[in-house]
């Protein structure tokens, strides 16, 4: 990998890593026994490992100018593998905590193993570890192809990927030590947040540099979605994490907001994280990989533009539906509810556009599990956005809020839409990236597909049942006008569904493990030159030669 960097890039990498090592050392010294000191040690260790890595390849010959004849895909390859590692970790922890909910006595007698610390490892692991790495990796792939411009340098994409994963590691290890801001999906503390801003702004600038070098006059719509993801996440992240650390040597900080303003800021962030991280970015993925895999252009390019702006305008205002029946002014709640309902239009336009693209290629959907992953993702996208608009309506929310229905809704989106489109995109890109004829085993892709679908359906149905039972029990009154059921009564009623949910999650996890194995075996198998399967290997003509990249 170091051999792919030019001499000056190797020097810049050393400078960056040395600076990081100094920061890590200062954090470790200043933090002493605080978790902040442990994180300093982790940063220092990461920087030292990086320095050794760069030095070991420092005197390798410079990459040849021929590299400019091909796209720079090594960061994408790395990102996909790391995404799969995070998928397995994040989903395994998720299933672990699912079993803990069904059988709380299965916990160890240790603070780190408590539900409250493990749960954010699951959510951050799957959203940021799996989803984020998959988005960064595929965005590097898509931005180069759609602009016909190679990444402008070799160092920046690696900085983004390694920096981002350092953030993910700091986040996950912090949760286990009890470091949290208690803001959902924004749990990492101030120093991790500052680091993510640096990485994220670099990512944004990298994207703009590629767009500036583009050879296509019009910027393909997938890039708009990816860019909205990068830009808006930066904005949300900075505002929601405005906080004052209690000292330079402590992990603890206090938010600049308080009371209902704090709640509103957090859910403005929280719902837009769903919108711009889990929706916009993955729509970008879909708008590239689905037409590519189906071999058909997007059904309506105009619809993709209109739904883009619809999603961008509307989502920004929807967050207050998380705060129905709270101290938040009624009109702000109504505003969030109204925009959430309006969101159904651009959401269904996107889902419909995706399914209409497949109209005429249904035989491919039947035969090709990779394309089927994408098709099912579009269906779940449509279902989940309908459900979300519905749940945001105040009276519906009075039944669904604080119940497992919300968990079911989130997982219909996260498993059915986000993970499915990602697996589809990864199965499509792996043979293209590693120049293989096809995946190692089409059968295993098929097995993964059915495990993932079965797991999602079991999970979502279990949570729908559990959530609605819970919600109804909480609002059932007896003749004397008091609550008919205690909280514990509702907990007992949920027990069978919690077991079902954990089983569904186990199916999904098993599928991801099989998928990871299949990807690793594909990489290990010999590159193909002769027989090319049109669906798996789009490169034709002279470019079909194995085209070894420098440094591989």
């Amino acid at each position: 990998m170091i051999a792919q960097l030019t001499k000056s890039e190797r020097q810049s990498a050393l400078v960056i890593l040395l600076a990081l090592a100094v920061v890590g050392l200062a954090m470790a010294a200043g933090g002493r026994h605080d978790p902040f000191g442990v994180h300093g040690a982790i940063v220092l260790l990461a920087a030292i490992l990086g320095i050794f890595g760069v030095i070991s390849g420092y005197y390798a010959p410079e990459p040849s100018p021929d590299r400019l004849d091909s796209y720079y895909d090594s960061p994408t390859k790395f990102g996909i593998i790391v995404a799969m590692v995070w998928a397995v970790i994040g989903m395994a922890v998720g299933d672990w905590v699912a079993w803990l909910l069904a059988y709380p006595e299965w916990t160890f007698d240790a603070a780190w193993a408590s539900f409250g610390r493990l749960r954010p490892v699951h959510t951050s692991g799957v959203i940021f570890g799996f989803g984020g790495n998959a988005l960064i990796a595929t965005s590097f792939y898509v931005m180069q192809r759609t602009t016909r411009a190679r990444l402008p340098d070799q160092l920046t994409p690696w900085f983004v990927l390694f920096g981002y994963n350092l953030f993910c590691i700091i986040a996950a290890t912090g949760y286990l030590m009890g470091v949290t801001q208690s803001r959902e999906y924004a749990e990492p503390e101030w120093y991790a947040d500052i680091w993510l801003v640096i990485v994220w702004v670099t990512y944004f600038i990298l994207y703009m540099r590629v767009l500036a070098r583009r050879q296509e006059p019009h910027i393909y719509v997938a890039n708009w979605y990816y860019l909205a993801f990068i830009l808006v996440v930066a904005m949300l992240h900075i505002v929601n994490n405005l906080a004052m650390p209690i000292s330079w040597g402590s992990a603890k900080s206090y938010s600049l907001f308080s009371g209902v303003q704090d709640a509103m800021t957090q859910w403005w962030y929280g719902h837009n994280a769903v919108a711009f991280f889990l929706t916009s970015g993955f729509l970008g993925m879909m708008y590239y990989y689905m037409p590519k895999r189906a071999g058909r252009p997007i059904y309506s390019y105009r619809m993709s533009i209109i739904s883009f702006w619809g999603i961008t305008f509307f989502y920004m205002w929807a967050g207050s539906h998380h705060l129905h029946y709270t101290a938040l002014p009624q009109w702000v709640q109504s505003l969030g509810m109204t925009f959430s309902v309006m969101l159904l239009v651009p959401s269904w336009v996107s889902a419909g556009n995706a399914l209409m693209t497949l109209n005429g290629a249904w035989h491919k959907v039947r035969d090709d599990a990779t394309l089927r992953f994408m098709m099912v993702a579009a269906v779940f996208y449509g279902l989940t956005t309908f459900e979300g608009s519905f749940m945001a309506i105040r009276p519906v929310n009075s039944l669904s809020h604080y119940t497992d229905w919300t968990i079911g809704h989130v997982h219909a989106g996260a498993l059915g839409w986000v993970a499915m489109i990602t697996f589809g995109a990864i199965y499509a890109s792996v043979p293209w990236l590693w120049k293989r004829e096809s995946m190692y085993s089409a059968k295993l892709v098929e097995v993964h597909f059915w495990l993932a679908l079965a797991g999602t359906v079991i999970y979502v149905f279990a949570m729908w049942n559990s959530g609605i039972i819970q919600g109804l029990m909480w609002r059932t009154y007896n003749e004397s006008g008091t609550l008919a059921y205690s909280f514990v009564d509702s907990l007992v009623a949920m027990h069978p569904y919690y077991i079902a949910r954990a089983v569904g999650g186990a199916f999904f996890l098993l599928g991801a493990i099989i998928g990871f194995y299949n990807i690793l075996m594909t990489i290990r198998s010999a590159p193909s030159v002769e027989t090319q399967n049109a669906a798996d290997f789009p490169v034709t003509g002279p470019a079909a030669a194995p085209a070894l990249q420098p440094g591989e």
Binding site: L68, D69, S70, Y71, Q144, R145, T146, R148, A149, R150, Q215, E216, P217, H218, I219, Y220, V221, A222, Y288, P291, K292, G295, R296, P297, I298, Y301, R302, I305, I306, W309, F313, P329, W331, L335, W432, P538, V539, T540, G541, A543
Partner: protein, 57 residues
Amino acid sequence: MTITHDLLVWLSKSFGLFYLIGLSLIVLVYTYWPANQKPFEHAAQAILDDDDKPYRG
């Protein structure tokens, strides 16, 4: 000037309503502008192109 609750309500109910309608109109005009159809069609087709190489001028 202090930002009061009433001011924010007034802003969101007046300007807040019309600027989004305005933006929507701009987007619709852009999307359906006849001269834009060609680049859109080209962009939609171009990603299916199998020439997997960057442009070198």
